[in-house]
């Protein structure tokens, strides 16, 4: 393949990565924004979503779309409940103390990951996509006889991959409407602004926290269900997305949803493109160092506003 079509393909793959990453990072971001909790177990909620999706689709026979649709609804629900339970049993009891919360969620990470290893096993397992039609993509070139369209070999995507991007956008818009237009969103934002004042006005802050922690985990699980037909379910799959979403949330400005989405697109796309043309390890080194330096020299994030 020539450079132009190759870059186009890399950008397309990057866009899918960015869409999933945006979902995952927004989940992490609302938990940090509202509860001031850094959830290190976020990657494991993502992994659980994929594993539960495999489990549900293997239970339901018939056309793969039925199982997938069921997984799309049930997996985020189960994962959300597990997270809310973890919040109730662990985080609430340590009063959301920032450092102890990180240690506790590291513990939670190991517990979820190792329990999955014991039950689901160490193998990677595939989930069939509900629809998967290959789409060849055209390319335009200025040749001897003007602009010509042709179909380069290997330049293609699938309907499912495009659907993932659309689904991610739909979920992000729905989440934005939830946060800005509904009463539940108002309550969450009030809790974010001032926990004690919210409590004084009769907002059940503990319930809000459990709900937000559950919601954040459910969004990660949803991202995983979307991704699992492209990438197989595996008990260690949470590591890389966790690191990437940390990077995104920090660069986008901790707790800022629009910043997070912009950063997800930037990081997801550049990770996809750099990994295709250069070494993926080098791309990750640059990204981790970028995060460290952003935190050191610009703690409000590249797109965040400085809090006075």
């Amino acid at each position: 393949m020539e450079f132009g079509p190759h870059l186009f393909l890399a950008t397309l793959e990057g866009a899918i990565g960015a869409a999933v990453l945006a979902l995952m990072a927004v989940g992490l971001s609302i938990v940090f924004g509202i509860m001031r909790v850094v959830n290190v177990a976020h990657g494991e909620f993502y992994m659980l979503g994929a594993v539960i999706a495999w489990w549900i689709t293997s239970l339901i026979g018939g056309h793969p779309a039925y199982g997938f649709l069921a997984a799309l609804i049930v997996a985020p629900l189960i994962v959300g409940l597990i997270a809310a339970l973890a919040d109730h049993l662990v985080l609430r009891r340590i009063n959301y103390d920032p450092e102890r919360t990180i240690v506790a969620t590291i513990g939670l990470l190991y517990v979820l990951q190792q329990l999955t290893l014991m039950t689901f096993g160490a193998d990677a397992r595939p989930v069939e996509a509900p629809f998967n039609k290959r789409l060849a993509l055209p390319w335009f070139e200025n040749g001897a006889d003007g602009l010509a369209m042709y179909w380069p070999w290997g330049l293609s995507t699938t309907t499912y991959k495009l659907a993932v991007i659309v689904a991610a956008i739909v979920v992000l818009v729905a989440l934005w409407l939830l946060m800005t237009k509904t009463r539940a969103g108002l309550i969450m934002r009030a809790t974010q602004l001032n926990r004690d004042m919210a409590l004084a006005h009769g907002i059940p802050v503990e319930k809000v926290y459990a709900l937000v922690f559950g919601l954040g985990a459910a969004i990660a699980a949803l991202a995983a269900v979307l991704v699992v037909p492209i990438q197989q379910a595996h008990y260690l799959m949470g590591g890389d997305p966790l690191l990437l979403s940390f990077i995104v949330v920090i660069i986008g400005g901790l707790g800022s949803i629009p910043g997070t989405i912009v950063a997800a697109i930037l990081i997801g796309m550049s990770d996809g493109i750099i990994s295709v043309f250069f070494s993926p390890t080098l791309a990750k080194i640059l990204a981790t160092l970028l995060v460290a330096f952003v935190l050191i020299f610009r703690p409000q994030g590249l797109f965040g506003k400085r809090i006075s």
Binding site: V38, V90, V103, Q113, Q114, M118, L282, F293, L295, I296
Partner: protein, 322 residues
Amino acid sequence: MSGSITTPTNNKAKALGLHLLIIGVLAASFLILPDYHSGIIARVLILAIYAMGYNLLFGYTGLLSLGHALFFASGMYGLGLAMQYLHVSPLIGLIAGLGFAAFVSAVVGFLALRTAGVAFMIVTLMFAQAGYLTILLLGEYTRGDEGFVIKQSQRIVAGFDLTNATNRYYVSVLLFAISLLLIGWIVQSGFGKTLVAIRENEERARMLGYNVQLHKWLAVVISGTMSGSAGAAYALLFGYVGGTFATVQYSIFPLLYVLLGGAGTTIGPLIGALFMFYLIDISSQFTSAYLLVAGVALILLTLFAPQGLAGIVRKRVIRWLP
């Protein structure tokens, strides 16, 4: 600055006595321990040095790092690469390991200490991750995750064969003894007391005229260098250098040991490393998911015993515990 009602000199003597007793018990244990267990204890002692270095920063200074594997690996690769490619003697290798760990911790400390709290944790985590990925990137020399073996013929110090089990055990006791006495001395010194003052109330320490930033930086450098010495010793005694030791998991282990044993106590890291190593060793005989133990321990400790085993002893029984 002693802060206790009993005479401080008396407590210092008691602390030194306790440390010497522990070292004596460890040295004598070799005679009664079966081979399998003395092999484990040698490993635990080196990991305890790692945890003691970690504890100086976390337990005494109040800075929670999630990236100490970077320092451990710096010591390990400093020694390993020097011995593998420059064919230096083990002692020069040890100095190279210590020097490299000191350099890396000085740089990381300088940068990371511009942040505090959660940001400090994430910055250290990111630096360690970048370090691990660099090991993978330079796989041609470091052999990445697979690692490389330091040849038996190279691991001889002045005719003293470190691959022999008896020698290995006593060298690890010696290194542990040096580290324990050093830590005991540091935490009883004015410098150590200042670190505790910073942990308890940073603003007050600054008001009293202490250079807080410099003290914290020195704490990072000493802590990182001690962790690096453990990494170098591990490579030398067990003859293996590998990227696994730079992963996040190896940053979590010293935190786990210190939390379990008791943060801010001199003997806590040893107790924590001993318990946790055996716990993981025993559970790994039953299941491949042995890290479940680590996860459950982390959650239970944060919930019910944030002061750790030695911390509970200090609170309830022996008030002078160093």
